[in-house]
Assembly symmetry: C2
Homo-oligomer: 323 residues x 2
Amino acid sequence: MPHRLLPVAAIVASLATAAMSDPLPSWNDTDAKARVVAFVENVTDPASDDYVTAADRIAVFDNDGTLWAEQPIYFQFLYAMDRLAVRAADDPSVLTSDVLRAAAEGDIAGAMAGGEEGLLEVVMQSHAGLSVDDFQADVRAWLDTAVHPQTGQPIRDMLYQPMLELLRYLRDEGFSTYIVSGGGVHFMRAFAEDAYGIPPSQVIGSAGKSSYQIIDGVPTIMKDPGIAFIDDKEGKPLGIDSKIGQRPIFVGGNSDGDFAMLEWATAGPGPRLGLIVHHTDADREWAYDRDSHVGRLDRGLDEGPARGWVIVDMASDWADIWP
Amino acid sequence: MPHRLLPVAAIVASLATAAMSDPLPSWNDTDAKARVVAFVENVTDPASDDYVTAADRIAVFDNDGTLWAEQPIYFQFLYAMDRLAVRAADDPSVLTSDVLRAAAEGDIAGAMAGGEEGLLEVVMQSHAGLSVDDFQADVRAWLDTAVHPQTGQPIRDMLYQPMLELLRYLRDEGFSTYIVSGGGVHFMRAFAEDAYGIPPSQVIGSAGKSSYQIIDGVPTIMKDPGIAFIDDKEGKPLGIDSKIGQRPIFVGGNSDGDFAMLEWATAGPGPRLGLIVHHTDADREWAYDRDSHVGRLDRGLDEGPARGWVIVDMASDWADIWP
Ligand SMILES: [Ca+2]
Ligand SMILES: [Ca+2]
């Protein structure tokens, strides 16, 4: 008990400094936070055997359900539905299936009736046929007004404050922070810098086909129909290898779509931290895991703890959820 | 003539400072160097109308024939031939065509008889079937001893000193420097950091297929047969859009394979610089352009000057070529 030797003023000053310098104020003082901080302090301490140079401090995060919310359906899908409605108003012939018709009418349940394949169809039909520049301008304009269908909250505010703090903390400690998400790479880049401080080159995602065209004399990258890459499940470690070329030492996700990237990253030599956001808070956010149609988390819950991954219990580990 | 008012000592000191601070000492004081320096000074001067923030100072460079030599054949192909010979010694049945047999025997002319398709066949047959980690270790080991078939010079020394200086100069001025090359991304990452100071995440290249596998319990990224992406011609702007997500403001290349990326990047708003290395020096390096089987430069020579691109005449613009 060394503290009994310290004058009260010194103790107070020390506590005040600790509070002021808390890099994760929206996290409760539970085991999850302690393990994250211990990991970061360990790999950034030049005196530690586990010291990692800044060049190797690569941290990757899933987006939907990890950095922002994803219920009742991925927000990119809400955008796709709105955009499809605009396209169909111009040209109803684009609605070639029941799923597309439901989506254009804003009927989420009907649009989801087609399963994963139906979701992809809606995204592809709505996202293709315009340039990357025009698409991203359209996404930004949509985010300026889009509200959540259940809560009425602006979509762009439905970020997780504890994860924003974690991203900033890691960067302050010399990490490079990446998004590695099943979401569309062009969609996420439209807001990742503003929302998360993550530049376009550090956003990895799924991608449709694209082409280089000279349109009215102007060199243009066009978004075309068809899928080029799905950045999910085994696609996540492959996407990281393809675009970063290094194995991350810190990985955050929330679903079994992140299992392979958690597995690969935490199997590397030296210190590694895997983290899973478990949605347990039906009051402040949503509670879902093994049976959810989005963000299904099953194997990660079963195997994560034995693999040493931090399972964040949103209800008990996060003091605040929203910014 | 303000100099006549300065004491001689001041003039000497001023000249010495200029010489010491020359960021491109291996470039002759010709128009090419003057235009590069003027561009960089312009976009980095906060008082300039053309000022570009550091986040947007993206510079991309082709590799073969732009940062290192490429005659008589791409160096990656020399590696592929050597590796194929090793594989064939173990298992001669991998040599299923005349092109593969010629390659395994080190017969460059015979291996090239199959054209681009033959080159791809040799690269794919030699590069697949091992993990990315093992492949890159093998490339590094090869580079430790590989010598050029004509000059006997170590392959790893056949970098262009003026381009090394240009890369360093740009980074010192806040640019991010990328490789965007038809060469294999895993091959180039094995040496890009040592050779050019460019980390794996800033190397964009062609890629074979790959897969995520658990091998004897170890999560592994395997290199598989088949082509996933060719980073050449229109593939270059598409690769940049996919991986960087921003349009570069500085582009260097040497062949018509770089035309689309030069065209796209220099068509953007604001200040842009395109640069083509023209191989004109048969004494110190090689002289080739319109009729070359590697690094063919035809349209770029015809249209580059009118598009405002700097055509670097290696013989007259570079004082030194090799480090
Ligand atoms: Ca997710
Ligand atoms: Ca080239």
